[in-house]
């Protein structure tokens, strides 16, 4: 009998390894033969550790399992799907999961991440098969037809990027996966690497074939040790199975991959800074143009895409660009793995078609706050994303609609705050974080962020608050239009949204006391 205990980093953080060990020990002492499969997470993190058992009627789940629950689980014959207070029934019927449109995360949590058989049994590898039959121009056409846009946040059409690199003539081209997922509130890249690594490999191989690149890098974070380990093992397995190396799948194409680890610099999530870092340099931003598509890694034409973008490609090739483009909203086609995080009751990954509203995501799907208090603000799109008040909860999840409300969807993270949040402190934190992580290349970011944090301290201390608030707005203007990259350029989003939507938090403490 098969028992699934997740081993993604979040499940381990809430005790999954101890649960797996307890199940193994209990099974042995009861002389019950069990096979423990360490799957990735389904992304329903509030239920982790979610132990699943395979039964004739499908997978049955037991949520928030602790080692202390294990003896009673065996008493209840959980291995046959027996009743127990922690039983959540058929996992694929849990509404949170059943309501999703899982194009990209279809296998997450379902399979053993390092079993190629499992991967293929659940549809893996079909994208590459189609890609090999279509050839480079056919692949680019399918990706263009899908309408896929860069999932790192910029939203640039992936197919056009690939076409540019395909047309560039060079002795060497590169595929680089930006898995430097540093945005707070995001974990989709981590989950792809830990739950379904072959999908990322497949997506990058397809990109290599499409543009004529033979070498790829996955640049990820030192904060993701488990993802690095799984990815590296998956690459070895893929190489052994002929999915990497020369004559891929018996074809004339060759492609190989390497994982590289960053060193704690948030700015390396910016694509040109990432390329510098990959070259072994300080992660300082490059001025654009030239674009990485023309002059990228080591000066060669380079496709640099986000992890989710590459991971979306196998589905697009397997099912056709149209199947992907058929869902969505406006110019945002396909699905987005929205990551519900922070102070939220049902935190996890929710992959759905674009167009769902922010309010539906936070309240209907996410269940409101974890603390049970009122929602005050939602930061959408990481530390450089705007704080949305509940009055903007009718905003459809879409690149353009978010932009119209001075926000961005970024990499798909939503961090919920309850009514105890101090938005002036959050605005100051945005400046502080920018100062901490600035690469130092351009002045608006390097100096602006430091001065911004200082100016917030003056406002809090009651030093000419109105004048200093005007100064912050002026500074944000300079940072937005004068910075080289999104770090300095987008820090104004959280700062100005906090100022605009929560002005009451920016009244200096002595004044606030007097008013009360």
């Amino acid at each position: 009998m098969k028992i699934y205990v997740p081993q993604d980093m979040a499940s381990i953080a809430v005790g999954a390894n101890r649960v797996a060990a307890a199940i193994a020990a209990e099974a042995q002492s009861r002389n019950i033969p069990v096979t423990i499969v360490r799957n990735g997470s389904r992304g329903l993190f509030w239920l982790e550790p979610l132990v699943e058992v395979a039964t004739a009627s499908g997978r049955i789940g037991y949520s928030c399992v602790t080692p202390a629950d294990v003896p009673s689980l065996f008493e209840s014959r959980f291995f046959d799907g027996g009743p127990h207070p922690k039983c959540v029934g058929h996992v694929d019927q849990i509404p949170y999961l059943a309501k999703q449109t899982r194009f990209t995360f279809a296998r997450a949590g379902l399979i053993d991440p390092l079993s190629l058989d499992d991967y293929r049994h659940h549809g893996g590898g079909k994208g590459l098969e189609t890609a090999l039959s279509l050839g480079p121009s056919g692949i680019v056409a399918a990706v263009k037809e899908s309408g896929l846009r860069g999932r790192g946040g910029a939203g640039f059409p992936t197919g056009i990027k690939w076409e540019t690199v395909a047309r560039a003539a060079a002795s060497q081209k590169y595929i680089v996966c930006n898995a430097d997922e540093g945005d707070s509130g995001t974990f989709a890249d981590r989950l792809i690497m830990e739950a379904d690594p072959f999908m990322l490999i497949e997506g990058m191989v397809i990109a290599g074939i499409a543009v004529g690149a033979t070498k790829g890098y996955i640049y990820t974070r030192s904060e993701y040790p488990f993802a690095i380990q799984v990815m590296e093992r998956a690459i070895v397995i893929a190489r052994y199975a002929g999915l990497l190396g020369s004559e891929i799948g018996g074809s004339k194409y060759e492609f190989d991959l390497e994982v590289r680890t960053g060193a704690g610099a948030y700015v390396c999530g910016e694509e040109t800074s990432l390329l510098e870092s990959l070259e072994g340099k300080r992660g300082q931003v490059r001025a654009k143009p030239p674009l990485p598509a023309i002059h990228g890694l080591f000066g060669k034409p380079t496709v640099i895409n986000n992890t989710i973008s590459f991971a979306s490609v196998p589905f697009i090739l397997a099912e056709g660009g149209k199947a992907y483009a058929d869902v969505g909203y406006g110019r945002s086609r396909g699905t987005m793995p929205v990551q519900l995080a922070g102070n939220i009751k049902y935190g996890g990954l929710f992959e759905c078609a674009f167009g769902v509203t922010l309010g539906e995501l936070v309240n209907d799907i996410g269940g409101g706050t974890a603390s049970g208090r009122a929602v005050r603000a939602v930061q959408a799109g990481g530390p450089l994303g705007a704080y949305f008040p509940t009055s903007l909860f009718d905003t459809p999840y879409d690149y353009e609609e978010f932009a119209k409300r001075d926000g961005l969807i970024g990499h798909g993270g939503l961090v919920v705050f309850d009514d105890t949040a101090n938005m002036a402190a959050m605005a100051r934190f945005a400046m502080e974080f920018c100062a901490l992580e600035s690469c130092g290349k351009c002045t608006p970011c390097r100096i602006g962020a430091v001065r911004g944090a200082e100016t917030f301290d003056k406002i809090a201390a009651g030093v000419e608050p109105e004048k200093n608030k005007a100064l912050i707005r002026d500074l944000c203007e300079t940072m937005k239009f004068g910075s080289l990259c999104a770090l300095g350029g987008f820090t104004p989003y959280p700062v100005l949204s906090a100022l605009n939507h929560f002005p009451e938090d920016f009244v200096p403490a002595p004044v606030r006391r007097a008013a009360e």
Partner: protein
């Protein structure tokens, strides 16, 4: 540092550099390997690397000092990295961390006088739906409160 250990730093660093020579842009993997070996990146490693990679000492120093991960001195026996990013803040992570730092009498990045534990800030572990979280000697821990964070730090012998 004695001449004997200097010699061994130089030898070990040279060996690490050689082991990574086949890579394109090998400096970051080399620095990670050096930190893995010594627990920090010794000052003495910089001229050795400059020589091995045909770069200037300034270039090596510039890279080592750019990245938050690379330490210039040994840390405590245990390293506790506490997430200070927004998702953990939304779940009270800052107050938990403040409580612990006060208890230990430390500021961010400092080590207890007995060398037992170093407490560092980290910005996002990707455990944002099981916040607040931390990493103790590489082991992730989520759903922390002030009490569990404190015992995590105190129980590390």
């Amino acid at each position: 540092m004695s001449s004997e250990t200097e010699g061994s730093v130089s030898q070990i660093v040279t060996k690490i550099a050689e082991d990574h020579q086949h890579l394109e842009g090998p400096l970051l993997p080399i620095l990670h390997a050096i930190q893995e070996q010594f627990g920090f990146v010794p000052q003495d490693a910089e001229p050795v690397l400059a020589q091995a990679l045909n770069l200037t000492r300034a270039e090596i120093h510039g890279v080592v000092s750019f990245y938050h991960d690379f330490r210039r001195a040994p840390a405590g026996r245990h390293i506790l990295k506490i997430c200070r990013a927004e998702a953990c803040q939304s779940m009270g992570g800052e107050a938990n961390a403040r409580h612990l730092l006060d208890k230990l009498g430390l500021n961010w990045g400092e080590t207890t006088p007995d060398g037992r534990i170093t407490v560092e800030a980290i910005y996002c572990l990707g455990l944002c739906a099981t916040a607040p979280s931390a990493l103790l000697d590489g082991e992730p821990v989520g759903r922390l409160d002030a009490g569990t964070l404190e015992s995590l730090a105190m129980d590390a012998a």
